[in-house]
């Protein structure tokens, strides 16, 4: 009993400070969501969307994690449904896609449900509670002494709305262009490695379609492809030839817009070839918000 009491005490203490980079995504219900993997997690700021699109249901929560945790799946679908269940008006749902959203380890389709159930989303039954003990007990793997000594990453700010912002310049350190170049080379190496271990998963594509169908009933759905370094985009397009065409036709079939920004990659800066740094993330989100605004306006006139 003593152990359990102590454990609960320190879990509560931890919940009052910085838990980890994903914790804030699970501490509140959402009016609208940003869905996807790491590119969306880092590259889309809910603040900018809320600022630009004044009349939408709030709050907008960045609910994207990474390709191992939040590929399209039943688990992600259930978490999204839970996250927006008490919303009153139609929401905005931005679904970011790239080949990483639809990949899974080779030959895993048979056991994909078990794999997904072991992700953060699978293990967290309560996706909107503050404090979220359920999240901490099931996912927090660091020692609990962090309740007293919280170690935040130098270049990353985890916002309350779930956005993980990466800043190049801090008081003590700068991510230089050389470092960016080096990190980009690592990203390319990792991507090459992933091509050998992962494959396109029909289950993930089906889950994506199921999600679109569901969210269409709940509000306005926008499927987007976030820009990244041109070499990385080229690599992805070479590996999955016709990706944009394929998803363009899927989104057309279900009558949702597909905004593809991958061909505007040279307008934005990444910190590792794949993920937008803070300023580019804000700039990109602003552009995205304007496009959404225009789309909604046009749709209104049409109706």
């Amino acid at each position: 009993m003593g152990f359990i009491g102590l454990y609960c005490f320190f879990v509560d203490k931890l919940s009052k400070g910085h838990v980890d980079e994903y914790y804030n995504k699970f501490t509140q219900e959402a009016g609208g969501l940003i869905i996807g993997i790491s590119r969306a997690n880092i590259g889309i700021s809910p603040y900018v969307i809320e600022e630009e699109l004044i009349n939408i249901e709030k709050p907008i929560i960045n609910f994207a994690i990474n390709s191992y945790q939040s590929g399209f799946s039943e688990v992600y679908f259930n978490a999204i449904r839970e996250k927006i269940k008490n919303r009153t008006n139609k929401g905005i749902f931005i679904i970011s896609i790239n080949p990483g959203n639809f990949s899974a380890f080779s030959n895993i389709d048979d056991d994909i449900l078990t794999t997904d159930s072991n992700t953060i989303l699978g293990k967290t039954k309560n996706v909107a509670s503050n404090p979220n003990y359920n999240y901490i007990i099931n996912n927090y793997s660091e020692p609990l002494y962090n309740a007293f000594y919280s170690r935040k990453p130098e270049h990353q700010i985890s916002h309350n709305n779930g956005w993980n912002e990466i800043i190049l310049y801090t008081e003590h350190d700068t991510i230089t262009n050389n470092t960016i170049k080096y990190w980009k080379s690592l990203t390319i190496k990792r991507n090459i490695k992933r091509v050998n271990t992962d494959e396109k998963s029909q289950y993930r594509i089906d889950s994506f379609i199921k999600l679109i169908k569901f969210l269409k009933e709940e509000g306005h759905v926008f499927v987007i492809r976030i820009p990244a370094d041109t070499d990385i985009i080229k690599f992805e397009n070479d590996v999955w030839q016709g990706f944009d065409k394929e998803f363009d036709s899927i989104t057309k079939k279900y009558n949702v817009p597909y905004f593809n920004y991958s061909n505007k990659s040279d307008e934005y800066k990444t910190y590792d070839g794949s993920h937008l740094e803070s300023e580019s993330a804000k700039k990109f989100t602003k552009q995205l918000s304007l496009d959404i605004k225009n789309y909604l306006k046009a749709k209104k006139y049409k109706n």
């Binding site: 102590l6 454990y7 020692p143 609990l144």
Partner: protein, 482 residues
């Protein structure tokens, strides 16, 4: 069921209280049911294999003493065939088919996956937890009966409990029937001193697992995941921490097993005896995973002739022994290379012993200095060979070693958490010091020999340390997979 799980925290007190609450003559049944539940909580369907091994060996063991010589051999072979057959089918079939495919591929004969013994994918076969442990344990029983060393156990329930006794079922120590069965049959009265010692050993095991081994594992995992992106000291530390991780992880399991058994009046054998203080590789293998090494010595090495024949024959036997050590650990070439590297150094050590003595004499080195050098060499060699043990492939291990010696800077922390790095080193020194003074088996003396107020302070400190410093990953014990 994992020892380091919430379920076990409920399961164990129930078993212990039930054990002392029910009359002696029904305790075997209580423990047997508990042991099967313990196993099924982890792997429900595969318990059938445990049951088959138990039935076959019980039957063979019972028949052997009264059988004719020919039939005796038949029963022994039946036991070996069934046990090793199950082990081979579930643990090694995939490895052998892929190795044969690879070999044929080398000669230009390509067999597609669908032609591979039908269309079944052998990689999908689930390896039953602890299969190597209980297979060896139950095999030693029939072999010992065949050799006339022990009498068969007539009580099926007691025999089934010997095979499945939950504290050591999934990761040893591999006990012999002559030691364990009499203890399981002995009437045990409540002995608070034994219960206390057992619980302290279990608490020590939990500490070793969740605070030490899992912490070292975080760093080791990071180092081994992508060696091409790192080099020099971080990889060296990764290898060192993996050596620590595997030792403390397995030692933790053994401590919990020994402690849990002790609370019920059963003394399990020691599996480790301060291996990092070994003064030679030969000495190290007398201190590391003792129950397996003794098993292979008694049932493989000595029957092959041991070290009694010619030098060449001894070398052959040592290589066969260490090939078996490697293969026992897993169906992979990395384990086999690890085993063979240990066999090779053991032979080299043996061959050069007189030469080394002459050199030490010439250099006028004192025994203390010789022991220090030997320990340093032993641990370093163990560390190097364990890189093969940890790596997913031989190429990965070679790349790791290559990158490890590619020293271009002194930045040591790939996790960028210096506090944790320093804590890892402090914990290694702490545990080694405790093991040095108390051995692996008498750690409870640290507590039991203190005055009451110090004991209670230690209990409180322990609770805080576990809660605050544990790595909360519920990692399985590494040796579960074997």
């Amino acid at each position: 069921m994992l020892f380091n799980s919430f379920e076990f925290l409920l399961f164990f007190p129930i078993i212990l209280i039930g054990f002392y609450a029910i009359p002696h003559k029904y305790r075997w049944l209580w423990l047997l049911l508990g042991s099967y539940y313990f196993y099924m909580a982890h792997e429900f369907e595969l318990v059938i294999l445990l049951f088959i091994s138990t039935c076959v060996d019980y039957f063979c063991g019972l028949r052997m003493p009264t059988a004719s010589k020919k039939n005796k051999i038949f029963y022994l072979l039946l036991s070996i065939f069934v046990n090793l057959g199950i082990l081979f089918s579930f643990k090694y079939l995939s490895f052998f088919t892929s190795s044969i495919q690879g070999l044929l591929g080398f000669f230009g004969i390509v067999i597609s996956e669908t032609e591979n013994l039908g269309s079944y994918n052998f990689n999908q076969i689930l390896i039953p937890v602890g299969i190597s442990f209980y297979t060896f344990q139950t095999l030693s029983y029939t072999i010992d009966i065949y050799r006339g060393k022990i009498e068969p156990e007539k009580h099926f329930g007691v025999f089934a409990l010997y095979v499945s006794f939950f504290p050591q079922l999934v990761a040893g120590p591999i006990e012999r029937a002559s030691r364990l069965i009499p203890q399981l049959k002995k009437k045990v009265d409540i002995n608070l001193s034994n219960i206390k010692k057992g619980l302290i050993m279990m608490a020590w095991g939990f500490f070793l697992k969740v605070v030490v081994a899992d912490r070292l594992g975080v760093y080791a995992d990071a180092a081994f995941s992508d060696p091409e992106y790192s080099h020099g000291l971080p990889l060296f530390i990764g290898a060192l921490f993996f050596a620590g991780q595997i030792y403390y992880d397995f030692s933790a399991y053994t401590s919990i097993a020994i402690g849990a058994a002790k609370t019920m009046g059963v003394d399990l054998m020691q599996n480790f005896n301060r291996p990092f203080f070994a003064t030679s590789i030969t000495d190290l293998w007398k201190r590391w995973h003792i129950s397996l090494v003794e098993w292979l010595r008694d049932y493989l090495f000595i029957p092959l002739g041991g070290s009694k024949g010619s030098k060449l024959k001894t070398i052959r036997n040592v290589f066969i022994l260490f090939f078996a050590v490697g293969l026992w650990h897993g169906a992979s070439w990395t384990f086999i290379v690890w085993g063979l590297l240990n066999g090779a150094i053991l032979i080299l050590e043996n061959i050069t012993s007189s030469l080394r003595m002459r050199v030490f004499k010439l250099l006028q080195l004192k025994q203390g200095a010789i022991n220090f050098l030997a320990r340093l060499f032993g641990v370093s060699y163990l560390l190097m060979t364990l890189i093969f043990f940890r790596s997913p492939s031989i190429n990965h291990a070679i790349l790791y070693i290559k990158q490890m010696f590619n020293i271009t800077g002194l930045h040591v922390n790939i996790l960028n958490n210096y506090f944790e790095l320093v804590l890892c080193f402090i914990l290694i020194v702490l545990v080694q010091t405790i093991h040095y003074f108390k051995g692996n088996d008498k750690v409870y003396e640290l507590v039991t020999q203190r005055p009451k107020y110090i004991r209670y302070t230690m209990y409180t400190a322990y609770a805080f340390i576990i809660v605050l410093f544990a790595i909360n990953r519920q990692n399985t014990f590494i040796y579960f997979q074997f």
